[in-house]
Amino acid sequence: MAETGDGKKEDADYKRLQSFPLIRHTDMAEEMRVETMELCVTACEKFASNNENAAKMIKESMDKKFGSSWHVVIGEGFGFEVTHEVKNLLYMFFGGSLAVCVWKCS
């Protein structure tokens, strides 16, 4: 039992170890992508316990930088189908268990 418990812990640690931000799908330009990814990482780290505030921070910063009507979803388990403006979508994983989806559609 202790072994399996340790195994699970290791598993979880393993996942945490791979907590680097990983882009799952995007069609943004290079610069925009890098900036957005960094912003998401900052926000998620800052509001690790509150997804809503993190999303709020991301959305407001994106609105200021890249123009109005960005939408942000942060969570651990959800499915989605969105319409987005071409070259304005970023879908990435972070922290081993968080998924962030950012898109623009006015």
């Binding site: 990983l22 799952r24 069609d27 499915g79 969105v82 403006e85 071409v86 879908y91 994983f93 081993g96």
Partner: protein, 573 residues
């Protein structure tokens, strides 16, 4: 109108009572005046020629006596409009009392003036104000005075000024509206679960490990790069350019095929109606002429078809003149695009022979004029050969005349064999990054060379061919006119030697169908067909000039083609 008149003046006298209403008198006087006016005018006009007297209708008819009566008129200062019997209630007496004195003044015209006496209070005040104002503007006025000399002050009148306004032409307003196209949109859907995230991370880690391995390893697997790119979907500029190159290539081919359409048709189906009349002979139609500008000055030294892609063939360019500059090229043409070569490789010295691997059609071996052999990989984009033999690694001391690929050896390394003018037959093996050479056999010296020099002066090998079925048997032709049959496993001696030609044997080839037959051609104008078991040739053909190359037809065991020095090609059956 003057009252006293000469004739017929009427003076009316009426006793006027002060208190009597004056209105009547006025009226009466008015009437009289009217009368007088009428008579005046009548009198005034009497001296004018004959006008009768005009009487107003309501004029009093008076007798002449009454008319001549003098009536005196008295003008008094009494106001006829003033009331004459005003009574006022007196509180003292408790009854109405008549007022005797009534104001008789009748005001006909009233005008309020704005003149103020200097000495009065108001006058003095105004004077003081004016003095202050004058002091304020005194300085300016002094200046003005000083400038212009003595000038009288102009008093600006607030009420006397000119106002002028004008309006420029305003362009009429116009409504224009416009709607930009909305930015393009796309749909995207995905699911975010714990397991999906985990799986993706695991994949990513695997990918990263693999890429690290590959960096150490040799060959990069391009498919994985493509899959990585698909996932990241980063659109970089280089992708766009390569896609453009691909499209441009296709278009170039299409254009060429359109231009050379007839030629392509001939290539596929060539039936010359004149063939029926020629009897045994047929016609040979040259189809394409392939030229490359930078290859001017170089002669074509070698040709090789690609076994896998039927339209691709390799051309080796060099020079037969040994004194000329050392430069060479390896070009690959495809029949689909006959105007420009597909691949171009520049070599340090002239190319003497080319061979393409049977299975791996991207491996090309070339033998160079300076004795080097090189292997090019067509899949790689670089201009440099993948392998190159150097002086230290056993390159030939003479020009390499022929190279031929062999089957992979036991270690599954690719290898090929070359024969050169220094008399050595060498097998080269592609081991990792190097070419490892193994001398297979050395061509024996001719009899004419004295014994002590046999080791030094070598006989040049000119052609090499391997048996189709028995891979270890090969034929080597020499400059001395001999053909040696050797075996790969037997390195010291030849199995057989045939005295083939008097001069250099330029080409020897096995028959692709008959296991024992081979053909050779030489500069002694002869083409000979041999059976390997018999020492003398089976057939001999004499052509008028030296034969430089001979080849079997791939579809028939009895047809071969020969090329001679006079530029003619002959087919024999």
């Amino acid at each position: 109108m003057s009252v006293p008149h000469k004739v017929g003046t009427v003076k009316s006298k009426q006793a006027t009572n002060v208190k009597a209403p004056v209105a009547k008198v006025v009226k009466a006087a008015g009437k009289k005046k009217d009368e007088e006016e009428a008579t005046d005018t009548a009198e005034g006009e009497e001296w004018m020629p004959g006008k009768t007297l005009v009487k107003p209708p309501d004029q009093l008819d008076l007798t002449e006596e009454e008319l001549n009566e003098e009536i005196t008129r008295v003008l008094t200062a009494n106001n006829p409009n003033a009331p004459q019997n005003v009574v006022r209630y007196g509180f003292k007496e408790g009854c109405y009392k008549p007022i005797i004195f009534v104001d008789q003044m009748a005001i006909h015209f009233e005008l309020e003036g704005n003149l103020v006496h200097k000495e009065s209070d108001e006058g003095r005040r105004l004077m003081a104000k004016q003095a202050e104002r004058e002091e304020g503007t005194g300085a300016e006025k002094l200046d003005n005075v000083a400038k212009a000399g003595e000038k009288e002050r102009k008093l600006t009148n607030q009420f006397n000024f000119n106002e002028r306004a004008s309006q420029t032409l305003n362009n009429p307003p116009r409504d224009i509206s416009c709607q930009t196209e909305p930015p393009p949109r796309a749909n995207f859907s995905a699911t975010a679960n714990q397991w999906e995230i985990y799986d993706f991370y695991v994949e990513e880690l695997k990918r990263r490990e693999k890429s690290k391995e590959k960096q150490e390893g040799q060959v990069l697997n391009k498919e994985e790069d493509k899959s990585k790119k698909k996932i990241i979907q980063a659109e970089t500029q280089s992708d766009d350019i390569t896609q453009l190159a691909h499209a441009a290539k296709i278009i170039e081919r299409m254009v060429n095929q359109n231009i050379f359409d007839e030629v392509a048709q001939d290539f596929m189906y060539f039936e010359d109606a004149a063939d029926e009349f020629r009897g045994e002979k047929g016609t040979l139609l040259p189809l394409w002429k392939l030229q490359y500008d930078k290859a001017k000055g170089l002669s074509v030294t070698a040709l090789c078809w690609n076994p896998k892609y039927n339209d691709l063939f390799a051309v080796g360019l060099g020079s037969y003149e040994f004194t000329q500059e050392e430069r060479g090229m390896l070009l690959f043409y495809t029949l689909k695009n006959s105007s420009y070569p597909e691949f171009i490789f520049n070599t340090t010295s002239g190319v003497m022979c080319v061979d393409i691997h049977e299975q791996l059609s991207y491996l090309v071996a070339v033998g160079l004029h300076d004795g080097c052999v090189a292997v090019y990989n067509l899949k790689k984009k670089s201009d440099q050969p993948v392998y190159n033999s150097t002086a230290s690694s056993g390159k030939h001391r003479g020009a390499v005349m022929q190279v031929k690929w062999q089957k992979d050896d036991l270690d599954s390394n690719h290898n090929f064999i070359s024969v050169s003018a220094d008399g050595r037959v060498v097998s080269w093996t592609l081991v990792k990054h190097e070419l490892v050479f193994t001398d297979i056999i050395k061509l024996p010296a001719t009899d004419k060379v004295p014994d002590d020099l046999k080791d030094v002066i070598a006989t040049a090998g000119t052609s090499l061919d391997f048996h189709k079925q028995k891979d270890y048997h090969f034929l080597v032709a020499t400059e001395a006119g001999k053909i040696h049959k050797g075996s790969k496993y037997y390195s010291s001696k030849f199995l057989e030697t045939y005295d083939a030609h008097f001069m250099t044997v330029s080409r020897v080839r096995w028959n692709p169908f008959h296991p024992n037959v081979f053909i050779s051609c030489g500069w002694d104008w002869m083409v000979k067909i041999w059976d390997q078991t018999i020492k003398s040739p089976i057939f001999t053909f004499e052509l008028k000039t030296s034969v430089t190359d001979v080849a079997w037809a791939p579809y028939s065991s009895t047809i071969f083609a020969a090329i001679t020095n006079d530029g003619k090609s002959r087919d024999h059956a």
